[in-house]
Amino acid sequence: MTPLLYLLAAQAPDPEVIDRIPSGFSPFVLPFTIGVAFMFSWIGVGLIRLLAAIPKSDRIKFAKSLFIPKTALKNIKDLFCDCLFHVKIWQRKPLLGYMHSAIAFGWFMIIILGHIEVALFVPARLNVTRGGLFYPIFYRYFVWMNPGHTTLRGAFFFFLMDFFLLYILSGIALAIFKRFRSIVLGMRHTTKPSLADRVALYSLWMIFPLRLLAESFTADLSGGSFLTVPVNHFWHFLFGDKLWFMPTWWAYSICLGLFFAAMPFSRYMHILTEVLWILLRNAGIEPNHPRKGVAEAEIYACSSCGLCLDACPMNVQKKNLKYSSVYFIRFLRRHNEKKINDIADKCLMCDKCHALCPVGVNAPALRRAQRATVNNAIPFDYSYLSTASGSTLAGETHATLGTVRGGTGASLCEASGGAERSEAVARPRVLPETATGKVLYFAGCMTHLTPRIIKSVEKVFKAAGVDYVFADREGGICCGRPLMLAGRKEAAAKVIEANKKMIEESGCDTLVLSCPICLKVFKEEYQLQGIRIVHYTQFINDLIASGKLAVKNTGEKIVYHDPCELGRGCGIYLEPRAALGQVGTLVKASKEYDESICCGGSLGSLTLDMKDRGKISESSLDSLLANDPQTIVTACPLCLKTFSEAVSNSKGPRKDVKVKDFAEVICG
């Protein structure tokens, strides 16, 4: 682009803009220059370290991704939408979106326009050795507008610069206002800033008013537009002709310098890191460590905007605010191991913070990675799984279930046999004798604690004439998701391997799951080739849509709860609603779809206690009962059990609300 700009400048017959200070330097630029140089070197080193921490294969993947047109296109789109316009915030909180985009996009434009101006009018100054680093920033200080040669082109830029400055100032005004009255912008909680945050924040607040001040002081020399010129007149009116403008430029430069110097230590690091994070994310590289490599880009991409504070269901209690993702990331940055672990363990893994994050920071994944650093090393012995899955081979029908051995009552004859433990190995009945169906139903551990789901699912299958095999009628092994959630990747892999073997040997082509926890892990980790993995809500909705299952609409007022792992986890929102719409009247919850509030029963949290979970259930119920439904329907055994208990423990009319499983409602 540079040659073109030179060309444009060369075309000017008589300079419209004259380099006011021939040296192109003034001491006041030093604070800014030092700050920005510090920041760039910090970031440069950080970038190298970060890339070094990424496994080589990922690095290659990353480099390649930059040249894949589809990814490149997505990169550009995401950079604009996420970094500059903050589309995600706009969608949820328009005012907040305006604020963020005003500052980000406005500033971006001012920088770009500043450079264009320099390129157009004093192109030589773009050269770094001639002040290219600071000149475009303080352009208005260094130039003198030739009054005899004003052009429309010049005025156009003056206008644009003033326009974007005003745009930014409006954003800043909102930001200042937000700091004191966040709720107006739709935020119940805001982040508590750290020291570096404060320095950067107050600098940021000051930068643009000071810029207005500085530029308006020099507007009669270096030109201006609708904002700076009137203000300049005002100053003249106030102080007379002798305006001593150096202090304002100094102050402007100092604020910028402070801001950039504090940036690497503050939330504003996200402004630059976000770019890298988006590129890495779009390249499909996942963090394998909670702080190093990709994760570092991710944690520095967090803007500490605090949207996750309101998203987090735990924050129904103020004491839990400290466990929010934003603080998790802050402590990750600070390497505070104790706090990191506390926060990592507390999280419900409902994924709502991730879903709502403007920069798409996947804090739950980081937490899992953090948990892995502690829990992955815990020893385990799953040798029994090989026996367990081995028995699924066809013909193994003499299944017996092991008895739970306890101190009292149980048979003690084995006690004399030293092989008590190994003798107790039982083989789960995985496939019944007549395994002809191509549909395999896997209920999962939790569903076995809510037998009404199993009963209803079987009833529906029967009514629709589905030829199916119940994989774990006598109880199977765990899907592995809870282990994954606890960060025990290696252990999970063993469980997954065993289940996978069982499913592959079953010869099914469709695997129906009633537990979203299972669904998520089956979809993401099992890589079952040629087997369609569906949630029973999808499967049953298909049955209804294809006319295989007839249902009756009772007109019952139903509210549907989106289970975390089903909605945010697997993106299934519509199928259950479509089916439920056929059997009753759906009413809205105050928070639903990807904003649905976790029931509180999640297996994700390792340390949340009963009381706190109860509070979450309450708040989730509050949301679900906003429009007075008769029945709460969910499609997850854990939610079902949690809500059933929460409703029966609650007081007043709420006690009369029914809690039902999806299949239960379908079969009427």
Partner: protein, 231 residues
């Protein structure tokens, strides 16, 4: 109520020894066997009183019932006047009657015990007879027994015994008529038929295992699987 339980209830020791157990554990707490074997007399009493024939049968075929040393310490402490020791004795009795004892390593030892002790009683009128107590089989009897064994007659003479002598005194020869009476008692009260039964079961087991009687005897006398012990 099960068949085996009915059989057990015919035993006076069970009638005496089993009242409703409350599982308090005082028996196990002081049981010498519970400390060194995988053994919990409380659970045995609990199983017997459950009257569950399947469980009782398992018990009868198991090593578990053979761990007790019949010291009867449990009897003192039971707050319900149960006697775990007596219950064990009736279980062992039934296990032998039904031939189940031969199934377990510890139960199988009855083969040897019956042979040795009963023949001591019938041959000499004593349960223990010093000429049959050999140092080779009892190295723990010490160097002093090694010496005594060599000079048994002299030692008995020195210590005022009457080894194989006439008339009263320690280790006298018990007159044939008295030993005949013991044999008659054995015949009439079922001891003789029990001896035969146990002998036959042992021979059958030895054949099953493809062992000569000497090998079988040696195995029964010396083996002890570590699985019996607690670790």
């Amino acid at each position: 109520m099960g068949k085996l339980y009915d059989l057990l209830m015919q035993d006076y020791r069970l009638k005496e020894g089993l009242n409703a157990c409350i599982n308090c554990g005082t028996c196990t707490a002081i049981c010498p066997a519970a400390e060194f074997y995988r053994y919990d007399p409380r659970r045995i009493v609990d199983i017997v009183q459950s009257q569950d024939d399947n469980e009782i049968e398992k018990l009868l075929k198991s090593d578990t019932i053979w761990y007790c040393g019949e010291c009867m310490s449990c009897v003192t402490r039971c707050p319900r006047k149960n006697a775990a020791g007596l219950i064990i004795m009736s279980l062992r009795n039934l296990s032998i009657e039904l031939g189940y004892f031969i199934e377990s390593e510890k139960g199988r030892q009855q083969f040897l015990l019956t042979k040795d002790l009963c023949s001591n009683v019938l041959d000499y009128g004593y349960c223990v007879y010093p000429r049959r107590f050999d140092y080779a089989g009892h190295p723990e009897a010490g160097r002093v027994w090694e010496w005594e064994e060599k000079h048994l007659d002299d030692v008995f003479e020195r210590l005022g015994g009457n080894l194989d002598g006439k008339g009263p005194g320690a280790m006298r020869r018990i007159p044939q008529e008295d030993r005949d009476q013991l044999k008659a008692i054995f015949d009439i009260t079922g001891a003789t038929s029990r001896m035969e039964k146990v002998q036959a079961a042992g021979e059958k087991k030895a054949a099953e295992l493809g062992m000569t009687m000497e090998e079988f005897t040696q195995m029964v006398y010396t083996t002890s699987d570590p699985k019996h012990l607690n670790h």
